[in-house]
């Protein structure tokens, strides 16, 4: 029975997040708003960690399989990917490299200043 409490809280915050982004016409996904509201409620002590911990971890641990259906939608865009292969893949690899190096060097610099 306890699982229902956790699930009700998680789905409830998701619904709240969607509602708020809809009403305020926000560009943030409703799920992210829901996460921020849940995080705030945990920090404020309105929600106890043990009420949601097990159910939340179940969702987070099993997230991978949920990407498959949206990913399969790629079949409709194979032509687009083929015609734009160079911008897509060069941007993907270079942007990954730049982000990794810039972030690592920035943080390393901050850490050095600290010591």
């Amino acid at each position: 029975m306890k699982a229902y409490r956790g699930l009700a809280i998680i789905f409830g915050f998701y619904a709240l997040g969607e509602l708020v982004t809809y009403i305020l016409n926000l560009t943030v996904p409703g799920s992210v708003m829901g996460m921020l509201f849940l995080l705030g409620s945990l920090l404020a002590g309105l929600i106890k960690l043990e009420w949601v911990e097990g159910e939340a971890e179940l969702f987070v641990r099993n997230m991978s399989v949920m990407f498959v259906p949206p990913g399969v939608g790629i079949v409709a865009y194979l032509g687009l990917i083929r015609s734009q292969a160079v911008p897509i893949f060069v941007a993907l690899v270079l942007s990954f490299l730049i982000t990794l190096v810039v972030t690592a060097k920035t943080v390393e610099f901050l850490r050095r200043g600290e010591k």
């Binding site: 998680i10 996904p29 990407f67 949206p70 939608g73 270079l94 190096v101 920035t106």
Partner: protein
């Protein structure tokens, strides 16, 4: 509702997960292999994507509550966030912004179409959030999903080696750079080598997801 789509997804994903648990390598990533396999099956049998999604959409819907659930690991990591607040804050602000701008501008420079630019911009954040952002800004969520996974695979395959190559030994810097550049898949790799770097990477992934979803839609309006 035709149960074929969800069954096919679960069976294929289960088989590739078994393979991945036996042979842990970036090229046995079950998400990417499942997407390719199911796409080939749909094409081979001439099954329209819509009828596949008829029931597979249940799994996609669960991404919403899964993102909400990310609040729990962030809450549990609050002591780490507090201890490294400055590094985490500045690292995410810098790295998150660089990830968006570099992807957007390089793709534009090479002649990428607008829908490609909008789909590639959120590629460094965790898939569930990236799909949500892509939907909101007019990208192609399916393309974003695949680009995010490919980015994650790059981090999973090469992040620790690349960080070694540029001589970054600081564990906080290594974790943050991995999480910000290659989300959950990068985190999954670095956590095997260093638990602190892994924990920081996981937090960076979640916080960068929030940061990017707040920043990117406004930034894109300026860039377009």
């Amino acid at each position: 509702m035709n149960p074929l789509g969800i069954t096919l997804t679960l069976v294929v994903f289960y088989l590739f997960s078994e393979l991945h648990s036996r042979r842990r390598a970036f090229y046995t990533n079950p998400v990417l292999l499942s997407i390719i396999t199911i796409a080939v099956i749909l094409r081979g049998f001439g099954i329209p994507y819509g009828s596949y999604m008829g029931s597979a959409v249940i799994l996609k819907f669960l991404l919403g509550p899964a993102v909400v659930s990310l609040a729990v690991p962030v809450y549990k990591g609050r002591a780490t966030i507090k201890a490294y607040a400055r590094e985490i804050g500045l690292g995410i602000a810098t790295g998150g912004t660089v990830a968006i701008l570099s992807a957007f501008y390089i793709a534009r420079l090479l002649g990428g179409s607008e829908e490609v630019l909008l789909s590639i911009a959120p590629k460094s954040v965790t898939t569930a959030i990236a799909i949500g952002i892509s939907e909101k800004i007019g990208g192609i969520p399916a393309l974003t999903a695949v680009l995010v996974i490919l980015t994650g695979l790059l981090g999973n395959a090469f992040a620790p080696e690349l960080l070694g190559l540029i001589r970054v030994r600081d564990r906080i810097a290594r974790g943050l750079a991995t999480g910000v550049s290659s989300h959950g898949l990068g985190t999954a790799r670095i956590i095997l080598e260093d638990e602190l770097a892994g924990a920081v990477s996981g937090l960076a992934m979640a916080l960068n997801g929030v940061f990017t979803s707040l920043l990117l839609p406004h930034l894109i309006e300026l860039l377009k």
